[in-house]
């Protein structure tokens, strides 16, 4: 149960950082914290206390199904980590260009589009 609480806390913390921090780097950090919270949530779904790695070896199918943790969330998390890496890379490169153009990282000062 505690892992679900920590995961949800991380998601909320991330959303707070994205919504209320003015610095763009802190917003991107918030995005990372939020998605890591979701990853923790996914891993916790498949977790089983005292379980083994989900590789079928020296074991019959029935006891394997009893013991092994769910491998699917782990595959989801791996996919999601790769996606988050690319988002963070794109975000940071746009932020570098933003800093060159505007001379600031303060999101409240980068406001020219309106209406």
């Amino acid at each position: 149960m505690i892992e679900y609480l920590i995961a949800m806390l991380a998601v909320l913390l991330g959303i707070y950082a994205v919504a209320f921090k003015d610095n763009l780097i802190k917003k991107v950090m918030g995005l990372s914290i939020m998605s890591n919270g979701i990853h923790l949530f996914l891993i916790s779904i498949g977790y089983r206390t005292g379980g083994t790695i989900p590789i079928l070896k020296d074991m019959d199918i029935a006891s394997f199904a009893q013991l092994a943790v769910d491998p699917l969330p782990q595959a989801f998390v791996l996919t999601s980590i790769v996606i988050n890496l690319s988002i963070t890379a794109v975000a940071l490169s746009i932020i570098i260009l933003v800093y060159r153009q505007f001379g600031t990282l303060d999101a409240s000062k980068i406001r020219e589009l309106r209406g």
Partner: protein
């Protein structure tokens, strides 16, 4: 065997190859994605008759059986949208041939990735894969919005990136919750298992997924990024984002609401309310704009509102009307953004008055924008009329007040469309440089005008398409195809 799905691979290969070829020289870079999109059109066109005349098909990745392996499903809805997506992809790439002169390798690579993402969303039968393809679509469009690297596009890019990432994270959280309670991510399997699972978790998951997809579709409370992104992006990218990108969001919303959750009445009512709100608010915001691309962007919000209103009615006619309006709006909005693009090509500003002072238009540009505006407002003999008429009839059966709101919104649409038309295209007789359009820009406009007029003059095509497409939102048919 679903040949249309291989179009995803074709676009992925094109994204890779454009980068590879550009190491040597940028000269042949545009030819690769244009050829790839032609192949994609061909592959989808082979799949279409198979699906239309012999029913939907399902394919399994790597021979794993249905609920366990990844399903690829082609039914009438997905294959129709895929055909129009690939055609518009080809036209947009052709239009970009002369439009984009610098950094073309990055541009074509990202645009190919975006098309791959959209086609993936259309064909996948697996909700986690849908999330992955949404990310492919999103990451490439963040890059494309910021492509010009000036103040406007960078600000729009970072704004879109932050909002879009929060939205896709919400989508992932919803998918994770569904997997936690149902133990599957196959949409047909989820649809069968969810009714027996009580409790609050599926409802929370649905809310999270809907909020995530709604931002991608640009419905009213989540529309803030649309105007910025379309203004910052190059015009062909705005056409692709508006014609294809946000329609992927609409399609995903339909799949989740109608297939996975079997269209609960309260959710349809929510779609109806937000649809009406974004229809009216989008049109009013567009009316107040003096910036051409922002006006077209808010008009997209308004038209997406029409689609969700029609689908939220919950009647068979309403669903068919909404689905047909997706198809029509894809064509109309691509035409409008591309004809706006021909003007913006030489103009330095996106403000309507300043454009009129710097650019002198040609008849083809003028007529393409005029036809786009008339079709958008739902004037008879243009394709927008067919779907809008169906929407009026469907809403009149359920609640006449909605018909009145829809008609008023159509009048506002005509007002802002004609305002832009007069400001940009009719008030620039004397001043400015004359734009000489190359053939690669004329062909996309002509093809789209022909589509707008043919679908409007022969409404039977549209009505037949709508009937065929609404069949694929039937839950028992879908689960039968995927699991049977």
């Amino acid at each position: 065997m679903i040949y249309g799905f291989y179009a995803v691979g074709v676009f992925l290969a094109s994204a890779f190859l454009t980068g590879l070829v550009s190491i040597k020289s940028d000269k042949y870079v545009p030819h690769i994605p244009i050829a790839a999109s032609l192949v994609a059109v061909l592959l989808t066109a082979i799949t279409l008759p198979r699906v239309f005349f012999w029913g939907a098909v399902r394919m399994q990745m790597e021979e794993w059986v249905a609920p366990i392996g990844i399903s690829i499903v082609a039914d009438t809805l997905s294959v129709t949208l895929a055909l129009i997506t690939t055609i518009i992809a080809f036209l947009v790439l052709l239009f970009s041939y002369r439009y984009i002169s610098r950094n073309s390798a990055k541009y074509y690579s990202l645009l190919s990735l975006m098309f791959a993402g959209v086609l993936g969303i259309l064909y996948t039968g697996d909700i986690f894969n849908m999330f992955v393809f949404f990310e492919v679509l999103s990451v490439s469009s963040y890059g494309l919005v910021a492509f010009y690297r000036n103040r406007v596009s960078l600000e729009a890019g970072i704004k879109y990136l932050i909002m879009g990432s929060v939205a896709t994270s919400m989508l992932l959280l919803g998918v994770a919750m569904l997997y936690g309670v149902a133990g599957t991510v196959n949409m047909a399997d989820l649809a069968l298992k969810l009714p027996s699972i009580g409790g609050i978790v599926p409802a929370v998951a649905l809310a999270l997924i809907m909020a995530g997809i709604a931002l991608k579709a640009g419905i009213f409370p989540f529309h803030a990024w649309i105007a910025d992104a379309y203004e910052g992006a190059p015009s062909p990218v705005s056409a692709a984002l508006s014609g294809i990108g946000i329609k992927a969001g609409v399609y995903a919303m339909l799949r989740v609401v109608f297939i996975v959750f079997n269209a609960p009445a309260v959710v349809l009512d929510i779609l109806l309310v937000f649809g009406v709100a974004s229809m009216l608010i989008g049109a009013l915001l567009a009316l107040g704009q003096d910036n051409l691309k922002r006006m077209l962007a808010y008009s997209s919000v308004s038209q997406i509102g029409y689609i969700f209103m029609a689908i939220g009615l919950g009647t068979a006619l309403g669903t068919a009307a909404g689905l047909l309006h997706i198809v029509n709006h894809m064509i109309i909005k691509s035409l409008l953004f591309l004809s706006a693009g021909t003007v913006l090509w030489k103009a330095k500003s996106t403000n309507m008055k300043e454009i009129a002072n710097t650019v002198r238009t040609t008849p083809l540009m003028t007529y393409s924008f005029l036809f786009g505006v008339l079709a958008l407002a739902g004037i008879p003999l243009f394709n927008g009329f067919v779907s809008k008429w169906l929407i009026y009839v469907a809403s009149f059966e359920k609640m006449p007040l909605l018909t009145v709101i829809a008609l008023v919104t159509s009048a506002i649409t005509l007002a802002y469309g004609l305002k832009a038309f007069y400001a940009v295209f009719l008030s620039n007789e004397k001043a400015g440089t004359k734009v000489v359009m190359p053939l690669s820009m004329k062909i996309p406009l002509v093809v789209l005008i022909v589509l707008v007029i043919v679908l409007g003059v022969v409404p039977q095509i549209g009505i037949w398409l709508a009937e065929m497409m609404s069949g694929s939102l039937d839950l028992s048919l879908y689960t039968g195809v995927v699991l049977g």
